[in-house]
Symmetry: C2
Subunit: 188 residues, 2 copies
Amino acid sequence: MSLQLPLPAWFREWVATLPQRLEYDAAAMTVALEACRRNLDGGTGGPFGAVVLDGKTRQVLGVGVNLVVFGQASVLHAEIVALTLAQQRTGSYDLAAGGRDVTLYSTAEPCAMCLGAIPWSGVNRLVCGARDEDVRAIGFDEGDKPAGWSDLYRRRGITVTRDFLRAEAVGLLERYAADGGIRYGPHD
Amino acid sequence: MSLQLPLPAWFREWVATLPQRLEYDAAAMTVALEACRRNLDGGTGGPFGAVVLDGKTRQVLGVGVNLVVFGQASVLHAEIVALTLAQQRTGSYDLAAGGRDVTLYSTAEPCAMCLGAIPWSGVNRLVCGARDEDVRAIGFDEGDKPAGWSDLYRRRGITVTRDFLRAEAVGLLERYAADGGIRYGPHD
């Protein structure tokens, strides 16, 4: 018995080719979008990608894609994969250890689970592409989020930027829907 | 690069000795409490344990303890460990596949992340020991949960039983606090 969650071969190989630093927000979100696109090409999961980086040095700490179906684990949303890989790389469950600034780029606003997970990881800046309503529009359940969550984040010291490259993110959601991809999640 | 999250030796060895079925709620919660107690004895994590079982056959599908510090991964709450191990065992991210009833016993009310994660897993019954306020009382941050979450769960077809063996769960929280255990989580 062990918790070994597989990563697709394309993912490991592609991540190894990425730049070590991504200077601008647009570059970081573009990598998250490209991760998402390759996940659709590979048929390895849902239309979501994420990147975690050091907000000061701009060093990439982790990249993630949705691997719920590939890994048969409902926790494997893109944000969780990126954050957990970043924690393995830094050797700490707290990415903010040592005073690090930590930015998470996600191609879509986090679901209820990821919203709860982000403050535990050490992230202090969240940049999102597609809106919650865009994700629901293709049939995904985003869960029950606390009202005014971005204000609650701000009180915790986490700033939120929305609608960043939203059109590109929505394009990938729509491609997934058009291809008839699985909308796992709700049971009702 | 891979997502390999270690499990403590005591945990693997002890879980192998457990009964395959736990007929009563008290028996299942007692295993969750015992997992928690052994986690404190082993110094492998926070004061939380969880058990997932098939609500009809009463077969144990997964057991979990908090491994945030041991595994250096902030996602490794007891509920996530138990649910993910159950998904690996059943081979499906959806524990409700095939019409299975799925009960999750947790020694404490779930934090915001686990509250979001539970509906994605296929659980349709949640049984909790300690209350949110008991967990906060020893210094843990439970996160920002949606108002009236147990009603929201009910609407999703997930029933909630609270205060089940609460005193026993609180005893373990207090032991952890008295021993000076790490309260990871909040950064503010």
